[in-house]
Amino acid sequence: MDAVLESLPDVFKAFGYTVLLFLVSGVFSLIGGTILVAMRVGPISVLAKAAATYVTIVRNTPLLAVFFFFSFAAPKIGINFKWVDVHIGTFDFTSFFSTAVVSLTLYTSTFVCEALRSGVNAVPLGQAEAARAVGLPFTGVMRQVVLPQAFRASVPPVASALIALLKNTSVAAVFGVIEATAQMKIMTNNNADERWGIFIAFAIGYVVLVELVSLVAGTFERRWRIA
């Protein structure tokens, strides 16, 4: 544990990167997932099939392969993020960070899409039929009957996808972002006699973050639950 206590600022900074990766990719994934699900459940069958194909392929690809593609393969065909070079406080947002955000977003969007779709599927058909029967127009059916229920039903699976995202930020460690897992690897190598303490300290960090996210999700779930 001494090693962790001595370099506490580094540890906190590393977890800062973890949280930043999570927040930035989380927001983009929610947007991406919403677009995908709109395509997927929409009336244009070409778009629905395109979205379904994308989701199937990306969901079955290891996240590491997605990272690998954007870190090493994409620059070969002229796709890179070298133009990103922002520094805020002590945090650097460079090509490593943006590559991680892009990979995490493209990957997590598919899971968010499936989570939202399960929410739409959870609304009983009779609800929409009754709404139409009482004369609500399309926008009314959507806004007042279908979407509120779908949204509520998709909170737990979306939360699961976000928790998975939080843990998946650790893959960025392989590709040059010094977030918590990378920091742990560095410290494990420098302090061979304290591996257990270092591991447990970082593990607790992740457990706290995960519990925090699930606590927030649980609060929303309870607040929005009907009956």
């Binding site: 690809t61 065909i77 009983p124 939360a159 460690a173």
Partner: protein
Amino acid sequence: MASGVLFDAPGPKTVARHRIYTIVAVVVLLALVAYAVKRLYDAGQFEYALWEPFVTPNIMRAIGEAWLDTITMAVLAVLGALVFGLVFGVGKLSDRKPVRWVSWLVVEFFRAVPVIMLMIFSFYAIFNSMSIEDGAYWSVVLSLTVYNGAVLAEVFRAGVNAVPRGQAEAAYAIGMRKSQVMNVILLPQAVKIMIPAIISQMVVALKDTSLILIVFGVGLTKILKSLPLSFNNIVPTTIVISALYVITNLALTYLATRAQRRFVGEKEMLQVSNVAEPVSNVA
């Protein structure tokens, strides 16, 4: 997709409108694909020399062996995870408070910690006396065993709870003991419900085997790392290796769907993602 919660059956005007949208969508999608292909072509990624390794017998054999390594790692991990999950899943249902508490702690811990961290730790702290290659291999197996075991523990618990309560009550009524009720009545029925979820978990395990790249490449990641060094074909390699993962996973998913039909019928599949994350406990 026209029927369902979201839309009425479209009328003639809407059909015409949708036809226009469809044409626009097709054009946009084709343009995207064409742009990607052009990008690859301009960068010379379609040259035969870059793809030749994948039809060279020696390298094909190496890829096949690596693929087998990946599969065996995933299979060993899932087998280990079944034992781990059974122990702690049943532990969470125990009548004794300390057993329940310890099981809960173990399951929550391993579910919240990123697999990649478990791998780093087991590689440097547990299997450090082995050769690098063996150490990496067993790090993958151990890390995925405990992680997927923790997830499967939740699946087991949900599976046992999904067995109608009357079953256990009837078993107690004819005088069975607690362990008999669990072993003879509840678990056999729960396992049947869980088989598809277990196979789906194999997809997760298979994808996660790649994470060992952080310390050392084993299995398909070894090819991913080493092949471009000799042939300078990182784009084709990434595409081919990813495709191998996708195909293997799709086969597993197909198997899970078949198993679902065979063992459970048309009932909703037990969703690992829904039962497996801490949110379900909070709710």
